[in-house]
Symmetry: C2
Subunit: 132 residues, 2 copies
DNA sequence: ACACTTTTTTAGAATGGTTATAAACTAGAC
DNA sequence: GTCTAGTTTATAACCATTCTAAAAAAGTGT
């Protein structure tokens, strides 16, 4: 299993559940956006196997903390995650309620001129809302 | 009352509650960020007067729809609103969990190169996360 | 001022995503 | 195998938000 090492290196025990979640998240052809609920359904269908919701929450948060997933800043009743952890941005189609990736090169350089004493910039995220 | 006209022009009846909420939101010296809970407390303290939570939710959403308030896209368990409706962005201090305004001129022009067929750009919002 | 209609307010219940709990289980170390 | 700390699980708890239905207020016409 190729994820055993990855988990161990992060200080996470490679349990059956975590390895299965890794498969679903990181073996996909393309990166994707998901909510916890989306992921639970995907797991059930794809692995024909139920993992407790609590475990899915725990694991997703653990992976996010380790930098294997990113949360997408958007106002919604659910939290959206992204398996694409590269520096990039998002379109949000308000009508379809769908997220679309925007490569960094689609946005051009962003230069933050204001500085805050004693603080470093951790990330710069752009959300472009779309209407018809 | 200066807000009666404003409300009427928006097709909203100028009720006592809506006028009071207008006062708290729009008579402030500076624009500010708030959650519904913040606002409820501010109303209670500032006006010495309780307005039902349901009314506050209704009113804030009505004002947002009319463009008198903006939602701030950020991942939090609560929804953040902004009385500053000008085109601008935000720092988010992860440690203090505090939002700071970023004027448009602090960010420089953002040019979205990718186009989506049949969709118009409604807004471009930048969130800059800060760490120590 | 009054009657009538529509909108608004309200308290409290319901909803639903997320987190906490505590008991059963598992991985890793010796 | 035994032990310990970490993990999983079902379920309960939490809490921001929305719904509900009844009372109150606003607007309109008379």
């Amino acid at each position: 299993m190729k994820y055993i090492e990855k988990l161990r290196n992060s200080g996470l025990r490679p349990t059956k559940q975590r390895l299965q979640i890794c498969e679903v998240l990181f073996d996909a052809e393309k990166t994707f956006h998901f909510t916890i609920n989306d992921l639970a359904n995907k797991i059930k269908k794809q692995l024909n196997n139920k993992i407790s919701l609590a475990t899915i929450y725990n694991t997703v948060h653990a992976f996010e903390k380790k930098g294997y997933l990113k949360q997408i800043p958007i106002n919604s009743n659910q939290t959206y995650f992204d398996t694409n952890i590269s520096d990039h941005h998002h379109f949000y189609d308000l009508k379809e309620e769908k997220l679309i990736d925007l490569e960094n090169s689609d946005v051009g350089p962003i230069n933050i001129l204001k500085k805050i004493e004693g603080k470093k910039i951790k990330s710069v995220e752009v959300l472009v809302k779309l209407e018809d």
